[in-house]
Symmetry: C2
Subunit: 210 residues, 2 copies
Amino acid sequence: MGKVHAIIPFKLEGAKSRLSNVMSMDEREEFSFKMLQDVLKSLNPLDMKVSILSTSEIELGGYDILISKRRLNDALNEILSEEKEKNLVLILMSDLPLITSKIVERILRRTEDVVIVPGRKGGTNVLFIRDPSRFKVNYYGISFKNHEEIAREGGLSYLIYDSMLAGTDIDEEEDLLDLLIFGEGGARNYLKEIGFFVKIKREKVFLERR
Amino acid sequence: MGKVHAIIPFKLEGAKSRLSNVMSMDEREEFSFKMLQDVLKSLNPLDMKVSILSTSEIELGGYDILISKRRLNDALNEILSEEKEKNLVLILMSDLPLITSKIVERILRRTEDVVIVPGRKGGTNVLFIRDPSRFKVNYYGISFKNHEEIAREGGLSYLIYDSMLAGTDIDEEEDLLDLLIFGEGGARNYLKEIGFFVKIKREKVFLERR
């Protein structure tokens, strides 16, 4: 197997606007950064090159930071087209604080040309591409179906990988509940630090903040 | 391997009350029934005894219907305590229209004493118990953690099984979006029939009804 190049798109400023009803802007930026660190931690035990594709300068020692102001698809497709021939590419969203090394390993062990891990509402949370010269991304709309279609049209084999943990991207208030319940890392700890907790009332669970 | 006894708790009257903002009572009952049928269909290719544990009489040819007015935990624990010694028990919720035969097969192939498939918000969507005489259920609150604890205290090995498809129980409006996007069976078709559809606006996805 060739070398794996992991690429994590990241946006700090104005991050996670759909959480603005429950978190201040500073909190949302800090929280986004914690989630990114959880994703990076899941990659730590694995031998790969990791690049963060950021819309602005960020401080993160030890990682390759690529700055691009282009739209996500354009920025990623440019990287794919320039990728070294033998490299395998793994694109992970930065808001997947429940992902684990074990899940990433299992994805990398698959033999299909393309592995697509869908997220809630049909997004693509993780994408593993064996030959980047033969694939283009399209992250908008129900993107896991776009990626399925792109693989099919390119004559590539593919797998839709079923995982709740990797499929949980944190976008909205209700997602925070899942992070508190299933999470173990820094993003979950940060939520607890700033006062979020799970309340069980009449045998049902709710998100609350102190 | 002993015979598998699948038990599906089901409630028709007043079903899915949290969907009452988007569906009438008749629709919710019909929809619940369609979801139950999708779950039953996923079990069809597998050799097992299937019982539906219902709070009222229902019409469903070919299945063993157990009527119980008791609370869920009590009703299930009574069944577990009376289960034939060699039987393995598989408890599936009836609102898992995205579950597939393949996923159920994979769960049955696990060798742990107990397999727990968590759902969103920490519920337990599927529970596979090799020795029902050594296990009790507790479905309230963050029940996957209850079941983890019960296994641990009983000295049983267990696995938390990670699946978005089996982990998606349909309770709220936003879950309907996932059913429309990922579903293929009768419950999804019913949603489309009564006018629900996915709208993509500014590259994001929304649930709409005609």
